[in-house]
């Protein structure tokens, strides 16, 4: 006897199953350097690892300190500068951030540079190279310090002594804003402030004969646009006073006209004056001279030993 076919049993009602999402595959990652502006410790690492020039960019707020450095970076975006090539930077994003409001990507109609806020000392870094450089490649560190910090240093010796980077400066750039210098009411006060800042740096023992000082007439395009030749007479007079007061107290005192971002003056191209400055920074340093005075056998050949020698030299300076 055959068994009747069993009625297929209905499947049990489905109970809702919790939906477990597949485990997300998060790739393991390694953090890379942030590329931000360098602090004192990071700058010291650069100086210890490679031959480095420290360029202090000093001046009142709005004188064009950041614009000067970012304009050098912008020049490299198009070609080598005065025969010197871009060889790298550990602060590319920091440069990019600073350049933003001078580029069309910001959708602004007028180029500008963000003010450096008052606070900690920061540095921007560019490595340069050229076959005819004495040191190739060469690292350049630029201070990125607010104008307010220099105003305080001008007004107070103790504030000035807080700016420890001054002691390590190869080149001290003192920016004088032509926007103020062509204003007959403001120009003497502006010149006096700049002289006071340099005097404070020297009298506090933070700068000395171990540093080259370069006075920059920034925004020189405004002088060109004004077309008034008496301005140059004024600059001459101020230059003479600088030489008289400080010429013998610093390693070298020079004067340069700069128009980092000239507007509306066809005779001056973008970055006017900067290629000459770059050559100067790259080819000459008071430390090179100091190093030449030291017999080879006491310095050692490693960069770290050379660095130590240079550093000790600086510390020994009054």
């Amino acid at each position: 006897m055959s068994t009747p076919p069993t009625k297929p049993t209905a499947p049990p009602p489905e109970s809702p199953q919790p939906v477990t999402p597949p485990p997300a595959t998060v790739p393991k990652v390694i953090d890379l350097p942030a590329g931000k502006e360098l602090d004192d410790a990071a700058a010291a690492k650069v100086q210890a690892a490679r031959l480095t020039r420290l360029i202090v960019v000093a001046g009142p707020p709005g004188a064009g300190k950041t614009t000067l450095v970012t304009s050098l970076y912008e020049l490299f975006q198009n070609k080598s500068v005065g025969g010197i090539s871009f060889a790298g930077s550990s602060t590319l994003p920091a440069f990019e951030r600073r350049c933003h409001i001078s580029r069309t990507a910001s959708e602004r109609s007028q180029p500008d540079t963000e003010r450096t806020p008052y606070g900690e000392v920061r540095y921007l870094h560019i490595r340069v190279g050229a076959d005819d450089l004495r040191h190739n490649p060469l690292d350049l560190l630029f201070t990125d310090v607010s104008g307010e910090s220099f105003e305080r240093a001008r007004d107070s010796i103790s504030e000035c002594q807080q700016l420890g980077f001054l002691k390590m400066a190869d080149h001290f750039l003192l920016l004088m804003d032509c926007e103020k210098l062509i204003d007959r009411l403001k120009r003497w006060d502006a010149a006096n402030h700049s002289m006071s800042l340099l005097q404070s740096c020297l009298d506090s023992g933070m700068l000395g004969s171990n540093c080259f000082v370069n006075v920059l007439w920034t925004k020189y395009d405004l002088v060109e646009a004004a077309g008034d030749c008496t301005h140059d007479t004024f600059f001459q007079k101020i230059s003479e006073e600088f030489k008289k007061k400080f010429g013998s107290r610093v390693g070298r005192l020079t004067f340069t006209k700069v128009a980092a971002r000239p507007m509306g003056v066809d005779s001056l191209e973008f970055g006017y004056g900067i290629p000459d400055l770059l050559k100067e920074w790259s080819n000459d340093s008071p430390r090179d001279r100091a190093m030449n005075l030291i017999p080879e056998d006491t310095t050692g050949s490693r960069e770290s030993e050379k660095y130590l020698t240079r550093h000790l030299d600086k510390v020994r300076e009054p």
Partner: protein, 283 residues
């Protein structure tokens, strides 16, 4: 059968710079003898599904599928050098362009990329013909001001800075700096620079080396200044052969491998041989 030597190459490039198109065309080229090429397929090995897929798209004049950001496909080809009879396995990770952009914006690399880099014998760096230099407002001022006057916006509207706005050449310099900064980095690292979509540029009559120095000057200076770190040469490469949207008819009139164009650094010699950059890397 002698065991093949092995070369691992990293393909470096920002989004839409032709990395996958290069692989797709290369995979077809080495399997056929429509044109002269120095490396040819020795034998099939392993899983070739991905290579076959992208190669199909290339043959059909369709855009090759974009590599997803979270995908790190590693492809291998066992090739034979016709001149030396040497067999070489070449391996590439096909990373998305976005993963390279993320190195710049997020400041991170994946451990798998890092591991591949450790054993890489060299790299192919893809450079697109798109603008690499930043546009400064002062240089474009008359036009920008005119546009602003037209829409009455002035500086009221401003785009905030973000890392992705950085010029391509800056991002590429940083990618190379990242490589050079790894503690296992052994210089000189060989780089074959491939300027992609060369068919768009060849009408200008400029050589790949001159175009590179003129249009990607920051990266050019970086490489020239760091020849102790990176040994490089330049090729102008057209893997597609032209625009799929407008030139399909012309592209289908020739054998597929004939669509490929490879121009030497000085512009004096040209061929269809996409394996030239690889041979230079293996030299």
């Amino acid at each position: 059968m002698t065991s093949p030597s092995s070369s691992r190459f990293i393909l470096i490039g920002l989004p839409a710079t032709g990395k996958t198109s290069y692989l797709a065309a290369l995979w077809y080229l080495v399997q056929h003898e429509q044109v002269a090429h120095k490396l040819m397929l020795d034998r099939l090995e392993g899983d070739n599904k991905y290579l076959n897929q992208i190669s199909s798209a290339w043959l059909l004049c369709q855009p090759v599928p974009r590599t997803p950001t979270d995908s790190e496909k590693v492809v291998s080809m066992v090739l034979k050098d016709a001149a030396s009879e040497r067999t070489i396995t070449v391996t590439f990770p096909d990373l998305s362009g976005e993963s390279f952009s993320l190195q710049w914006t997020a400041r991170q690399i994946t451990t798998s990329y890092d591991n591949f880099l450790k054993t890489a014998s060299g790299g192919v760096l893809f450079v697109s013909p798109e603008p690499h230099k930043p546009a400064r407002i002062d240089a474009a001022a008359p036009l920008v001001q005119e546009m602003d006057q037209a829409d009455g916006n002035g500086d009221a509207h401003m785009v905030e800075w973000e890392a992705s706005l950085a010029p391509r050449q800056v991002q590429l310099v940083e990618l190379l700096q990242f490589i050079a900064a790894r503690d296992y980095f052994k210089p000189p690292f060989r780089l074959a620079l491939v300027i992609s979509a060369w068919d768009k540029l060849k009408v200008t009559g400029i050589s790949p080396a001159k175009w590179f120095a003129k249009e990607v000057p920051l990266l050019f200076q970086f490489l020239e200044s760091n020849r102790n770190l990176f040994e490089y040469t330049i090729y102008g490469v057209s893997a597609q052969g032209g625009e799929y949207t407008t030139e399909t008819e012309r592209l289908t009139e020739v054998d597929p491998s004939e669509r490929i164009g490879v121009v030497s650094s000085d512009g004096r010699s040209s061929s269809h041989d996409l394996t030239e950059p690889l041979l230079w890397l293996m030299r």
